[in-house]
């Protein structure tokens, strides 16, 4: 089946020259967009037009364009990664939109993710959280035989599910409190569930949470918006685990 053509779209997008600029919304119209094209391709087409018209193209983050790197980060029509489920912005397609529609594009909004330019935000905060404890520093020795360290199937599954987090920040963008709890809980869980990671589980939880708080993310109120908007469907049961690990770490001190 041939893709339909969206004859006209209004693109209302956040423009901000640099971190210090106040920023404002601009609305552009764009014509004849195939429903088969991706959302970022649509933006590429719009940017081509802006360049030809002698205007500054819209800055947005992207890299792999196949949903694995976590770089793309657009808040589209009131939702991180737009109106589709379990996809990143780069996997979003124009068939999710209607002809004549006004599409609103905003950057992630959080104190911990300051806007650098237009739709690009600085997500160094996530790196800082990882550096605070998202690693294993115990000596794990040489490569053991695959069956030497038994890992229960359930644990392996839960660990792998949590490890699917690509660090995109949609959870923070979706949360009414700009909380990074889903991200941090995923990072804590995928290590805590495996034998080598278990050793430092408490310390890791404590350090990563301390860093998260320091960087200005909000607290969790369990609305569950993060799980729904997460492109990798990271479960909020990880947050329960993080709460448990953290509280046990605190109470056992």
């Amino acid at each position: 089946m041939a893709d339909k053509i969206l004859k006209k779209l209004n693109i209302k997008v956040w423009r901000q020259k640099n971190a210090a600029d106040k920023g404002r919304f601009e609305t552009y119209t764009i014509e004849n967009i195939s429903t088969g094209s991706s959302f970022l391709e649509m933006l590429d087409i719009l940017n081509d037009k802006l360049i030809i018209d002698g205007q500054d193209p819209i800055a947005f983050d992207h890299d792999c364009r196949e949903g694995i790197c976590g770089t793309c980060s657009l808040y589209i029509n009131g939702r991180p990664h737009g109106p589709d489920t379990e996809v990143t912005t780069c996997q979003l397609h124009m068939r999710k939109f209607n002809d004549g529609e006004t599409i609103t594009i905003e950057p992630w909004r959080a104190k911990a993710f300051p806007v650098i330019k237009d739709l690009v935000v600085d997500r160094t905060a996530f790196e800082k959280i990882l550096r605070a404890g998202g690693f294993i520093s115990v000596n794990t020795g040489g490569v053991p035989d695959a069956n030497a360290i038994p890992v229960p199937y359930e644990d392996a599954e839960e660990s792998m599910d949590a490890a699917a987090c690509i660090g995109c920040g949609a959870c923070v963008a979706a949360c009414k409190n700009s909380s990074a709890m889903l991200f941090v809980s995923a990072k804590v869980s995928h290590l805590a569930k495996l034998p080598q990671g278990k050793v430092e589980a408490k310390k890791r939880a404590r350090r990563m949470v301390a860093k998260m708080d320091e960087l200005g993310f909000g607290g969790c109120t369990n609305t569950g918006a993060c799980e729904v908007e997460c492109p990798k469907s990271i479960s909020i049961t990880n947050i329960a685990r993080l709460n448990r690990e953290y509280l046990l770490a605190r109470f056992s001190e």
């Binding site: 939702r79 905003e106 009414k176 949470v209 969790c220 369990n222 609305t223 918006a225 953290y246 509280l247």
Partner: protein, 226 residues
């Protein structure tokens, strides 16, 4: 301790513990109150109220409950303010309804409305029973003289439809608060996993429906019956 109270999870822990403590209170409170509609002579409720007013365990719990409420309420405003600060620039367009319930996003609004109810409620009953018992009638049940709490409550509910409606709305608001609060409290304490999360959510829904219906059926009973 100071480290615990500056950490987001530590802070939320206070919210969860106080909230679940209030949940236990609400369960006891409803159990006693529902006696109002099972005995029109009022004896059953009066005896229960007398027991609650004189029992040493309840006496110890009373100030604790007051503290629980205070902590829960004051802390809730403080935490919401902290969370609100985490997003200095707000979104222009939001589709929050897709990913979360209105209730879960508006716990402070619901809580504040419950608080308004609570203040009036405490002044109407608790305050009178505690500090102005001389204004109440007394009855003799089983040879023991006690305050006629039943008449105080029944009298109010019969006096005006407005009071009945106020109490019905109060019960329903609390029900909504708990439809999120119940399971959220467990989640906050880390007492949930992939099996228990849905069980707790269902349990929370059932509990909040019981609370909403339970508390509003009492004024409704007096409204219809008398």
């Amino acid at each position: 301790m100071s480290k615990f109270l500056t950490a987001s999870i530590g802070r939320k822990f206070i919210m969860g513990v106080s909230g679940l403590f209030l949940v236990v209170f609400i369960a006891v409170h409803l159990t006693v109150n529902i006696l109002l509609i099972f005995d029109d002579s009022g004896e059953l409720f009066n005896q229960a109220a007398h027991f609650m007013g004189t029992n040493p365990v309840v006496k110890i719990m009373e100030p604790l409950l007051g503290i629980g409420f205070l902590v829960h309420i004051l802390w809730s405003f403080f935490l919401e303010y902290q969370n609100w600060k985490a997003r200095p620039v707000k979104y222009d367009r939001k589709s929050s309804g897709v990913s979360s319930t209105w209730t879960s996003r508006n716990m402070l609004v619901l809580g504040a409305l419950v608080l308004v109810f609570l203040i009036v409620h405490v002044l109407q009953f608790f305050w009178v029973i505690k500090f102005n018992p001389e204004s109440m009638n007394s009855v003799i049940i089983g040879g023991e003289e006690m305050e006629d709490t039943y008449s105080l409550v029944a009298g109010l509910f019969r006096s005006s439809v407005a009071y009945d409606l106020f109490y019905i709305v109060g019960g329903i608001l609390l029900g909504f608060h708990l439809s999120h609060g119940f399971w959220s409290g467990f989640q906050t304490l880390g007492l949930s996993n992939k099996h228990w999360i849905s069980r707790l959510q269902v349990l929370g829904k059932i509990f909040s429906v019981i609370v909403a219906i339970g508390f509003s059926i009492i004024p409704l009973y007096f409204l219809i019956k008398f």
